[in-house]
Amino acid sequence: AMSQLTACAFLIGLVIFTCGAAADSDGGAQLIGVKSIANNLIVKGMDVTVQYDIYNVGDKAAMNVQLEEDGFPIDYFAVRSGFQHVRWTRLPPGANVSHTLILTPLQTFVFNASHAVMRYKVSDEATGSTVGYTTSPGEIAVIETADYDRQFSAHAMDWLTFGMMTTPSIIIPFLLWYASVRKYSNLASHSSRKNN
């Protein structure tokens, strides 16, 4: 019985050792943070959508995940919707989360959008937080509202003015033609009535 017990203990130890050997050296959570700007054009006074995607590509759940965005100064951007400091309690392995931040540029400038900071614990038993950086969108140029409108607005007043200016060239020949048609159709109907 004693030999069996030692054999079992050895077995269990071997299993644990095997598992440990085959496992990753770190074996914790790994978070990939992707920060992207959803807009094609960034216009002063119009909304800019910043999207954060966090993927857990590690083996264990990431605990106490925090996303901190301090890269948009308050005098250049006004926050319309969303939070700049977000926290998730737990991010399981293989899962991902998204967060959106909507801003409005207050000025026209070229801006260097830098990375946001993630803090998380690689596992339950980890002591300290790991700091990670998200991706950087890079340089973004904020354009004037007038430039945007020139390209994309409906130009309703312009079309109205154009219509008013081209109306005489169309109406006058039409009136002449209409008067002529009426006169000769009346003549034709009179003559046919006389003949009949």
Binding site: A7, L14, D26, V57, G132, Y133, N195
Partner: protein, 430 residues
């Protein structure tokens, strides 16, 4: 018995562990290779790979699909030593495909679509003591059997020396476009991250180094094919229309004559019945059509159609005929029904209807006399009037026809002078 079972289990576990150890031993020829393999194993773990040995002992950088734990081949090591760029052992890389999502994960081979933008995120962990500065990322399609042979290089993306402090991590996104003309085949894909340490030494670290197979994605709606079908349908319709038009144009004349005759009969039925009482219209037995039946004769004034009643060669000159016409209104329209009569009255409204008719008939008689044919019975007063006009007419013709000698000219002039009083009297009577 129990001991036997326990021992068998023990042996199995030993074998399991031995194989694992062999795997790590085979891969760990050098510290950096071991770390690279470790990094790859990390990525394998990141992709939720099972911890089952898959014969990686035999694999020495041949790049089998699904295997992330490739060791650099001899050529690769040569290349790296030549460029003196290799991975740093203080850095741990892993990756994740953003598009197509889930590519290369456990249970799925790494298949990439052609003609699309492939996005991959790379994760870098700094396990060293000094800051690393990440400069760039690059990728290449290589020959799967020989990873040192580059088929296609992709653009280099710059990260402008992003700092990764000791103990910290950073993410980087790299994207590249697969050419739509690349046939469905397999390539060796390498995605490398270039960084330098605090001393300025450069490193080139492969985040992805495996075989991928490209496939052509199935597009739902092909605009080219759709519009091609529309074009073919329109061509067929055009051909049908052309054949119909040809058949219509070149059908026998009989069919057309029958159609037009029917049309003429239906439209002119009332008019013909009105004229039949008058009895002036000649009976055209073709129903108002030409003898060939090609066109409608109803609208042509009858004097052009009655060829028998045409003037002989001794016709008047146009000038004389015009004067004659002015004096005798309505010369042209004789056998046409009442519409012509109304027209003649419109031209000379001061004349009465009856006188106009009389003039017409008088003119008829005069023309008949000139032509030598005509109706036999005529009232006397008309004859008298006609003779007056015909006398004037003869004088006119006399003047026109003379011109052979001066004497004849003088005689003609005298005759004309004589007719002058007659003309003026007639005009006063009108």
């Amino acid at each position: 018995m129990r001991v036997f079972a326990v021992s068998v289990l023990l042996l199995a576990l030993l074998a399991f562990h031995a194989v694992l150890a062999q795997e790590s031993a085979a891969g760990g020829a050098s510290p950096e290779d071991q770390l690279e393999e470790e990094g790859n194993v990390e990525s394998e773990g990141a992709e939720r790979a099972e911890k089952v040995p898959t014969g990686s002992a035999a694999d020495s950088g041949a790049g089998e699909p699904g295997m992330a734990s490739d060791t650099p081949s001899a050529e690769q090591q040569d290349e790296m030593t030549k460029l003196q760029l290799g991975p740093s052992d203080k850095v741990q890389l892993s990756h994740l495909f953003l598009y197509p999502a889930g590519a290369g994960q456990v249970g799925r081979s790494l298949d990439l679509p052609t003609g699309k933008t492939i996005r991959v995120a790379m994760h870098m962990r700094n396990k060293g003591d000094s800051t690393f500065h990440v400069d760039l990322a690059t990728a290449a399609f290589r020959y799967p059997m020989d990873m040192s042979y580059v088929i296609q290089n992709f653009s280099t993306v710059r990260y402008h020396g992003q700092d990764v402090e000791p103990g910290r991590e950073a993410s980087f996104v790299y994207q590249f476009n697969t050419d739509p003309q690349l046939a469905a085949r397999s390539f060796g894909l390498t995605v490398q991250l270039g960084y330098r340490d605090a001393e300025g030494k450069n490193y080139l670290h492969s985040a992805i180094n495996q075989t991928v197979s490209l496939f052509e994605p199935d597009e739902g709606f092909d605009g080219e094919t759709f519009f091609m079908y529309i074009f073919l349908i329109v061509l067929a319709a055009l051909a049908c229309a052309g054949i119909w038009y040809l058949l219509k144009t070149y059908t026998p004349a009989k069919k057309l004559a029958a159609k037009s005759r029917h049309a003429v009969k239906s439209s002119k039925a009332a008019a013909l019945s009105a004229d039949s009482a008058d009895g002036s219209a000649p009976n055209n037995n073709n129903g108002g059509l030409s003898p060939g039946g090609n066109y409608n004769l109803e609208w042509i004034p009858q004097q052009h159609l009655d060829i028998k009643n045409r003037r002989a060669k001794t016709a008047q000159s146009p000038r004389q005929r015009k004067t004659h016409a002015v004096a005798h209104v309505g010369t042209v329209m004789i056998h046409v029904p009442d519409a012509a009569v109304a027209h003649s009255t419109m031209l000379r409204p001061e004349r009465s209807h009856s006188s106009a008719v009389a003039k017409q008939e008088g003119c008829v008689s005069s023309r008949m006399q000139a032509g030598g044919q005509g109706p036999d019975a005529e009232p006397v007063d008309r004859i008298a009037e006609a003779s007056q006009t015909s006398h004037k007419e003869d004088s006119r013709s006399a003047i026109a026809n003379s011109g052979q000698s001066g004497q004849q000219t003088l005689l003609a002039l005298a005759a004309w002078l004589l007719t002058l009083p007659g003309m003026s009297a007639e005009q006063m009577a009108a």
